[in-house]
């Protein structure tokens, strides 16, 4: 059992050392203290052998008994003191430092993680890693350290001491404790098997809940709610039945583990009685042995509960480590800076890591400095992927992308980002003042510059009308900003950044017409003198573009100016005509 816990414990130990980083030394030190604590505790227990023998000898020699008792007390004091020292790791704040340093490292990793990797994480997963996984695993570190040390050193010391007293008793312990190993495995495996089946049932249930909640308007209309939502009720019942199925099997080893010490005691007493009867073992020694072994009951029953914790910590650590070890995209040598801002795609192929199909196929085009290029096509055709590749969302499998003649892989990532502003459809505002939300694009900007940018983005007016003006915190009134106002703040941010390349990804798609006009004006200001890439659904918006790329299935099928494309009567023409027809549609009763 010790050995087994040892293997999984060793893994956790290694990971712990890795993640504690600069505090690994402190953690090791605390483990060393715990080791001493439990060895001395075992020795103190061991003193029962001589103590009880002397106490119940026919004639007690008080001085001898007191000496042994003294040693026992001394060992206990050493044990308690070292244990106290060991717990300094968690009770004197080191753990807080570890949490801090781990989260800082995670933050740095996240900043540098390739965007493709980043988007592969669900937001909830990353939140969990940063927040609860760090919290759970690190806060338990001290506790776990002490438990591992206890499991390793207490039984070993006791067995070793017993060996000197009576090797047969020691042998029984050596033989019996490892019996727990198969039990331990069964617990883990039962855990895993059950979990698989249970996870499936639970996933079904989760899907069922989502379907039920989202479908409620329909389900209500057709009276299929509550008990009449048969599928959902079945899923609920199924969870219960899978749980019940696994229950009897899964609980037995747990409980058996809990009484393993009792079983060992039983065997020791059984054989011990023979030894006592044929006078090869003193009864007092047997009694002392039983008293000592009984002391192992508690740590082992703790272990049963701790196995679950081990799994928790183990998976938390692995998830944290995965984030920490994610390699940022490599900057190729020599590192260069672009002189101008024309963008060229040369025979670019790209496939997302999670997909088999190529998202971009053999795409080549050139955007001269300070021109506007529009990308149009059906949703899912690869428009956004192209803009992502310009920002080095991920590296292409084939071909290269250059800005001002410099391959973007040769550009420092901060430098690359410095050249590009993006206006997204969804706007993210920090829970901070409006001033800081705009200013983040250029921390050196003066308040005047911020106001100028806001003016250019047509948001100065409504900001000034707020009671606290630019110092209004967005969190306080976040909800009461309209979509258009949020979008204009984000454009002010982009104007202040003044990057030579501007990417517009359907910036007005989610707006109502009232705010659209203001946002449109703001965009007109933003794109002055810039190299502009715009993704737009409404083709009239981009009819003035210097070049229009029509994308279908990851390929450029047409390109040219609006008039040329209309004259060609191809895909662009079809899209244009359909939009013209829809424009004319109106509801008539």
């Amino acid at each position: 059992m010790k050995k087994n816990t040892f293997t999984s414990a060793y893994g956790i130990y290694k990971l712990t050392l890795e993640l504690t980083g600069e505090y690994a030394g402190a953690f090791k030190k605390s483990l060393a203290y715990f080791a001493v604590a439990f060895i001395t505790q075992g020795l103190a227990f061991g003193m029962f052998y001589p103590l009880l023998t002397r106490m119940f000898a026919d004639d007690i020699i008080i001085s001898e008994v007191l000496t042994i008792l003294g040693i026992m007390i001394l060992l206990s004091v050493v044990s308690l003191a070292t244990k106290w020292k060991g717990h300094n790791f968690d009770f004197k704040g080191k753990i807080v430092d570890v949490v801090y340093s781990l989260r800082t490292k995670l933050g740095i990793s996240l900043r540098k993680m390739p965007l493709e990797k980043l988007s592969a994480y669900k937001t909830g997963d990353l939140n969990a890693i940063f927040a609860s996984n760090v919290e759970e695993s690190v806060m338990l570190m001290g506790m776990v350290g002490s438990i591992i040390a206890q499991l390793l050193f207490l039984p070993t010391t006791i067995i070793a001491v017993t060996f000197f007293v009576d090797y047969r008793l020691a042998l029984m312990m050596i033989v019996l404790f490892p019996l727990a190993i198969p039990l331990y495995y069964r617990i883990r495996n039962a855990n895993i098997d059950d979990k698989r089946e249970f996870n499936r049932a639970n996933a079904d249930l989760e899907a069922g809940f989502i379907e039920y909640i989202q479908g409620l308007p329909v389900l209500r209309a057709v009276n299929k709610t509550g008990l009449d939502a048969e599928k959902l009720q079945k899923a609920i019942k199924h969870v219960r039945s899978t749980q019940t199925q696994g229950l009897y099997k899964a609980q037995a080893p747990f409980v058996l583990m809990g009484i393993i010490v009792q079983a060992v005691l039983l065997v020791i007493v059984f054989f011990g009685s023979f030894f006592v009867l044929n006078d090869t073992l003193e009864l007092v020694t047997l009694a002392a042995c039983v008293v000592i072994v009984a002391r192992l009951a508690e740590p082992i029953s703790v272990l049963v509960n701790v196995i679950k914790l081990f799994d928790l910590i183990d998976s938390s650590f692995h998830r944290i480590k995965a984030v920490l070890t994610d390699e940022p995209l490599k900057i190729h040598d020599p590192v260069q800076k672009p002189e101008n801002y024309d963008i060229t795609f040369e025979r670019v192929d790209f496939t997302y890591a999670t997909q088999d199909k190529r998202a971009v196929k053999d795409v080549s085009f050139h955007m001269p400095n300070q021109t506007m290029t529009a990308i149009v096509g059906d949703s899912g055709s690869g428009k956004t992927t192209l803009t992502r590749l310009m920002m080095r969302y991920a590296d292409t499998q084939q071909g290269n992308i250059t800005i001002g003649g410099v391959d973007i892989r040769n550009m420092d990532s901060d430098d690359l980002m410095k050249h590009i502003s993006v206006v997204f459809q969804d706007v993210y505002l920090f829970d901070d003042t409006i001033l800081n939300n705009i200013k983040m694009a250029n921390p050196d900007a003066t308040d005047e510059m911020v106001k100028d940018a806001a003016q250019a983005a047509y948001c100065h007016e409504f900001i000034s009308r707020l009671p606290d003006g630019y110092n209004t915190r967005t969190g306080d009134i976040g909800g009461s900003f309209s979509g258009g106002e949020r979008q204009r703040i984000s454009i002010a941010r982009a104007i202040l950044k003044n990057a030579p390349i501007v990417i517009l990804d359907e910036p007005t798609a989610a707006l109502d017409t009232e705010s659209e006009v203001a946002v449109q004006n703001a965009i007109d200001k933003l794109v002055e003198d810039k190299t502009v890439i715009v993704i737009a659904h409404r083709l009239s918006t981009i009819s003035g573009a210097d070049n229009i790329l029509v994308i279908d299935n990851g390929e450029i099928v047409e390109s040219g100016k609006h008039d040329e494309l209309i004259a060609r009567r191809g895909k662009y023409f079809n899209m244009w005509s359909a939009q013209q027809r829809v424009k004319e549609w109106h509801i008539s009763a």
Partner: protein, 589 residues
Amino acid sequence: MNRNNNSQKGLWAITGPVKGYIITAVGMAVTGSITSVMIFILLAASGGSLGLYSMPLSFQQSFLILVLVIILNFLINYYSFVVSHLGAFKLEEILRTRLTARLAKIPLGYIISTGTGSLKKVLLDDVKNLHAFVADSTPMVGKSLAAPVASFIALLIIDYRLAIVATGVLVLGAGIMYFVMKDDAGHREKYDENQSEVNRAVIEFVQAMPVVRTFDDGTTSFKRYYNALERFRTFGKAWIAATGTAGQIALTILNPLPTLLALTIAGLFFVTQGSLEFVPFIAALMVSTGMADALMPLMWMRDFLKKSKAAAVRIHGIMELPELAVSQSFERPEKFDIAFENVSFKYNSQDNYALKNVSFSVPQDTTTALVGPSGAGKSTVAKLIPRFWDITEGTIRIGGVDIRNIETKTLMDTVTFVFQDTFLFNDTLANNIKIANETATNEEMIEAARAAQIHDFIMTLPKGYETTAGDRGVNLSGGQKQRITIARAILRNTPVIVLDEATAFADPENEEEIVKALSNLLKNKTVIVIAHRLSTIKDVEQIVVFDQGEITETGRHDELLEKQGTYERLWRNYEKARTWDIHHEGEKS
């Protein structure tokens, strides 16, 4: 204080349905503790019978009883867990069934505004949390409370003086623990506050990462994140400084060594005095295990209990939501004109009225458009008709009947809110359409699909109408999903249709088909449309213009233009937005 009280009650009230299981499990856990103590006494007794001590039972007898008691102990512990788990499974089922039934009765508006994610979390995770409470905590609590008591009683019987000594150590430990926990409570709350502040910072940092990458060289957002970490560290240290030492003391006292030492010293004294014999002493040494050690799990479980309480509060929150008021006598509307009479409405959580004194009427089989700037109240009006919310003042009538007097089922058969339910069930396309009307024949269903412009597409799928939609089925584009839900609405054929035009064109794909499908749906119906593209409503019978929750104008398109009011302004804006093309003057080359 009050809230705390509530949550205490909450946990008990909510586990009410499985109280029998809980009581049985706790009872068994208590019995288990008693048998554990008996095992130690029997061990000492069987040892004693080997020697010269006068024991009531022979070694064989006591050993046999020992074996039986250990088996009994195993069975009791085993079934205690089995029972508590069975109770937990049952509780999950009961709570989920009740919650889903509840969701069907509360205002749909609540469900929509709360969101699928949060509701699912309650149904899935919070319920799971209570499972853990019932399954694991209740037997543990039983054990932790019973073990010290049983051990104490056993010690009393063995030797009252040793009982006093052991209790003394325990009281000291418990006293310190009480001190630790008491001191803890205030800090704890502050800790939680800090904790959620860090979590907020984490979420912000993770979610804003795309924006951070483009707009921030790492100084602003990173600083915010760091600052939150820094504050958490400072606080954490202060917290530990205040409570850490006390925690360390508790861990030291609750170690087996102090009790054992105290008993040994006392025992030695009594033995030399001649007032304590071998067997009782050995028994006392073993039994004392149950005293201090048993308290440890209680310390561990506090966090756990808190989580369960929070979960219980959230579950109660849903259970206690008011149902939509149901009238005593239902009426069935014969006609389908709609009338708003002095309707005022505010959302539960807000002070301001979302609608103020709104009156208008929609004659049967005509179309009325609701227009206005965002937040003016037009979507609120639309949501009140199918009773997503109940109004605060006034009356809404369909065919002269107050909608509160129309049975839910009847109301649902009268009004369809298109696009509130673009959700497709994880079922065949045929069933997804047919759910609207179970008695419909296949021909009628196909007819509806045709009218919704989706039949041709469905026929191109290998499995046609038998294709499964949703997670495990074919991936449909947003536009295709919308048309399937239009087919559903066509098959439902309710006399009143409420349409949100903004969501209708949320997916820009296949606009033309959607337009055709909508035209078919709206034929010969009483229609209320929330309009954004003002061109679509040029010909409708009535346009109602909203601003800040009030009606400012009513009339036809031409009449409203002449009035030069809100509508005229909206129209001008609309025209401008529609004809915008990005004004880009960058090219210098």
